[in-house]
């Protein structure tokens, strides 16, 4: 690693270290009572403990399952509709105004409707995740697909591919960088939305654990699910980036 990189990393670690130090200081000095701000050591040990607790892990698994289900739906719908809108004027004319009105609407406002129609359990959360995550994926797919060089498609058409097949065989792979960027944003959104949905109205999951701890005044237990979902989010993001790099092996490097 170059000297510059090392110094940059050190500088970057500074604010995080400062915040941790502040946290530690406030807790240790007694300026903040443990009921408001538990010491970092307490939070860490509780976190470690919970990670070995099957009940906690089951909640985490529930959150993950809902996340993935919603995300999967968002990918299928987002990519499917985005591609279809590129390939067909009719579809585009239908989709464009719909996206324009629905995109700025906070989908979280639909949550009560989902609860009323789909119930209190998994379905409403999955529906909300899907509703929120679909839009960035759809937009990214549409943008990427529209920007594909027509001569790529022409080359395939000349080789004997039909127009419809060309959408899947040429446009989709060519638009993959864009599509995957949209999917990454969708994944982060899925993470956030599932957690929030569980905080607002759920009987299980990591989000629910946070609210439950708040109601029972177990401050340490409030930090644990928050840290857990953040780590999860970072891990999923990193994992996705790895996958993305693999899938885009042939594409020129971008910024």
């Amino acid at each position: 690693m170059t000297a510059r990189r090392t110094s940059e990393l050190l500088v970057g670690a500074l604010p995080i270290a400062l915040i941790l130090a502040l946290w530690y200081g406030l807790a240790a000095s007694g300026a903040a009572p443990p009921s408001l701000l538990p010491p970092p050591a307490a939070v860490l040990s509780r976190l470690m403990g919970r990670l070995g607790d099957p009940v906690f892990l089951e909640h985490a698994a529930t959150t993950l399952a809902r996340l993935f289900a919603g995300f999967a739906i968002a990918v299928v719908v987002g990519v499917g509709v985005g591609l279809a809108a590129t390939g067909s004027r009719t579809v585009e004319a239908l989709v464009r105004p719909l996206v324009r009105i629905l995109a700025p609407v906070p989908k979280i406002a639909l949550y009560p409707a989902f609860i009323l129609i789909l119930g209190f359990e998994h379905a409403s959360k999955i529906a909300l995740v899907a509703a929120d995550a679909t839009f960035p994926i759809l937009l990214a797919t549409y943008q990427g697909a529209s920007a594909v060089e027509p001569k790529l498609v022409w080359s395939a058409l000349a080789a004997g591919t039909s127009r419809r097949q060309a959408l899947i065989k040429v446009v989709l792979p060519a638009a993959l960088p864009s599509v995957l960027t949209g999917c990454r944003i969708g994944l982060v959104i899925s993470c956030i939305v599932v957690f929030l949905a569980e905080m607002i109205a759920s009987s299980n999951g990591l989000g629910h654990l946070l609210v439950y701890a708040a109601r029972s005044f177990h401050t340490v237990d409030m930090f644990v699910p928050l840290i857990a979902i953040s780590i999860l989010g970072l891990a999923l993001n990193a994992g996705f980036n790895r996958l993305r790099a693999r899938l885009l092996a042939g594409f020129p490097e971008e910024n």
Binding site: S7, E8, L9, V11, G12, L14, P15, I16, L36, L37, A93, R96, P97, L98, R100, I101, A103, P104, V105, P106, K107, I108, A109, L110, Y111, P112, A113, I115, L116, I117, D132, F135, P136, L139, A140, Q143, T181, G182, I185, V188, I189, C191, I192, V193, F195, L196, M199, I200, G207, L210, V211, A214, T219, M222, F223, L226, I229, S230, G233, L234
Partner: protein
């Protein structure tokens, strides 16, 4: 629908709206789901909702908190972002921290923040502030980074000091990108506000939503959803107009992947 009519910018979304409402009405009648009142019932509830003094106060409270949180974020985040864009050191300092905060749902901090700041406005405003700051910093950063070096050299040759350069060259040049950040931030502010109200259940539209849900006033629930939806749409549309006018000199903007919590 004739192509002429569709060319007017407001018409297709209006038709899409009408279409969605019609679909809703149809689905409610055909499927007879308990939790889905027909569209006309929800629409009928709207005037009553908007005339209700308490509800209006709630909505205004929401908007006020949003505005304050947003203004604070703008004041803090944009300078930080601009500095990050021009100084490697500042960027190196803030980047890892911001990347660590990014996946944390800001509204999820509500219970903890409420623990420290109580159930009043401060906690919700803080959460909105945190939520909106991130896209603002990011876009200010990107905008400042992209400012052409040569423009700054010309300015330096003309005798402008570092601070003046930042304010008089970097800021205007980054404005298009900052406006993209503001647009994202506005959407986020609305979302964070509604969500934090749903969690805190003290006042505001989020509160009305879940109160009505608890009391099984289904038409009110859906009417409130329509209100929130309209707020989102109008806010975004109004801002777009403003943005287009203010930064008309910039290159055409790419479509934004909207919507994060």
């Amino acid at each position: 629908m004739s192509a002429r009519l569709a060319a007017y910018p407001g018409v297709p979304p209006l038709i899409a709206c009408a279409g969605l409402l019609a679909l809703w009405e149809l689905a409610a009648r055909v499927f007879q789901i308990g939790g889905l009142p027909p569209a006309h019932a929800a629409l009928a509830e709207l005037p009553r909702l908007l005339a209700d003094r308490e509800a209006l106060l709630n909505i205004l409270d929401s908007v006020r908190r949003m505005a304050v949180g947003f203004a604070l974020a703008l004041a803090c985040a944009v300078p930080v972002g601009l500095l990050m864009g021009r100084s490697r050191l500042v960027a190196a300092f803030f980047n890892p921290l911001l990347m660590a905060i990014y996946p944390v749902p800001k509204a999820a901090l509500m219970p903890i923040v409420m623990l420290w700041l109580g159930i009043g406005d401060a906690s919700k405003t803080l959460v909105i502030f945190l939520g909106v700051s991130l896209p603002l910093v990011y876009h200010a950063y990107q905008g400042a980074r992209a400012v052409e070096e040569k423009m700054l050299w010309s300015a330096a040759a003309m005798g402008l000091g570092a601070t003046r350069r930042l304010v008089r060259i970097v800021l205007p040049a980054s404005l298009p990108e900052i406006f993209v950040g503001i647009r994202t931030g506005l959407v986020l502010a609305l979302i964070t506000m509604v969500t934090s109200e749903m969690i805190a259940r003290q006042s505001g539209v989020g509160n009305i939503l879940f109160n009505s849900l608890d009391m099984a006033l289904y038409e009110t629930v859906y009417a409130t959803i329509l209100v929130i939806g309209a707020m989102g749409f109008l806010l975004d549309a109004a801002f777009e107009r403003l943005r287009a006018r203010l930064v008309a000199w910039a290159e055409p903007e790419r479509a934004i992947a909207v919507g994060t919590t």
